[in-house]
Symmetry: C2
């Protein structure tokens, strides 16, 4: 990765993105800073979606909800604009992906409510700093991502299964991995399942729904965390007429340091 | 306090309340179980109020949001009915208290959204178990409650100052008090201020806005926590046309044990 200053400072990085000079993944960008998933919905669906997130805090940890029509995350990144400051967006209509775009200005409306939702990049960094090797993080790949059979608690029009990520962890470090990620409830928190994937509807770990097929080495235990793809999948299943998200891996980089969202 | 079984078991206690056999404070009832503040609002104000709570998690920690028209907290107390299972309610219209009632059945509407919000009884119990004496808890009194000058983050029609409670803590135990309450973010969490009340707009601790005038003894430090009265005060200032709450101190007793809402 470049050692240039603007890959270390969230404000400088977002400025580059805004000028169209970065359209790639944000993995490894601005180490130490919290990155976020983005979901944008019309206000008429916002109460149901907010309650869905509150009822399912592990897959959907809310970092910030913006006012209707307001594109600035005043808590996480004052001065930023979520319409231009992510490298790539996805536009969904009636539950289907219709377009991938570099900015969403022409789709913006005064009734749109934007959500910043915690992201696993945060806890992967914490794990590695804490001495737990995370293969996909070190190789700059996505983990295996699976639609489990763990039901989310429904809210209004939103319901569906929890999406999970799996990372193989050496058996001697599983306990440490739980402890480290438990300190980050705003980034999916502690694992939701440890061990046999079949018990949560994932009999074959090579058959991923998203992400990359993982290598599991001898002596490693599959450890499953709730995944920020859940709200997107659930929102699409509800066939809401309009939704905008980031392109997977192309996150919003906030001004908050990881330590600022750690629990005590 | 009575040692009768129904004062120890939340289901039995709520059944007594429902039958009209308990109309007093819930202080000291069902030790070890989480108690909750209740706020009930029409759905048209629910998105703003929910976002207000999310933006102000210390005064307004959401334990559960019920579906519109649904009186049962399916997570915190399956089978309960928040219309009958609290000892006393308050009815507000256009920002003014109009009535105190034993049940709210005749006010119930299909568009009402109910919120269970964390309560300081939970962390007071944790403090005492952790070796930190809490005078008001041990004397079964309310702490001093003050309207501070700390602004809440506004959301829609809701804005206003944070309401805080003050408990005098021996100087040698202040650090422990912070550590213990930090483990309970769903019950107001760590203190918001420690020391001179004048710095948060409370120059004279004897002039309480609610609760009881505290005694402060030599060697004790005033420690301030965010207070669950905040959402009520803020909602009233917004002059929303209709709101129901519990009567202060007359809480909803949930089935959850305190340890179940502790952070890691």
């Amino acid at each position: 990765m470049s050692a240039k200053g603007w890959t270390k400072d969230p404000r400088l990085f977002r400025e580059r993105v805004r000028r169209g000079q970065w359209r790639s993944s944000t993995a490894g960008i601005c180490p130490g800073y919290v990155q976020a998933n983005l979901v944008i919905l019309p206000k008429e669906f916002a109460l149901d979606f907010t309650v869905f997130c509150i009822r399912n805090p592990q897959p959907c940890p809310i970092l910030e909800i913006l006012d209707p029509g307001d594109p600035t995350p005043h808590e996480m990144a004052p001065g930023a604009d979520i319409r231009t400051d992510l490298p790539m967006y996805r536009i969904f209509k009636d539950g289907a992906l219709v377009e991938e775009r570099e900015d969403i200005g022409e789709y913006w409306r005064d009734d749109l409510v934007s959500y910043l939702i915690g992201c696993s990049y945060t806890f992967e960094e914490a794990l590695v700093r804490g001495g737990v090797p995370v293969r996909n993080y070190l190789e700059r790949k996505d983990p295996g991502i699976y639609i489990s059979n763990i039901p989310c608690r429904p809210a209004g029009i939103f319901s569906g299964p929890m999406v999970v990520t799996m990372r193989p962890i050496p058996a001697s470090l599983v306990s440490r991995a739980v402890q480290i990620t438990a300190r980050f409830p705003k980034a999916h928190g502690a694992p939701v399942h440890i061990g046999d994937g079949a018990l949560i509807g994932i009999p074959d770990l090579r058959r991923v729904d998203f992400g990359e097929v993982p290598d599991i080495e001898e002596g490693e235990v599959p450890v499953f965390w709730a995944c920020g793809v859940t709200p997107q999948v659930v929102a699409l299943r509800s066939r809401i007429p309009f939704m905008i998200t980031h392109k997977p891996g192309h996150m919003f980089v906030t001004d908050l340091r990881i330590e600022e969202i750690a629990s005590s």
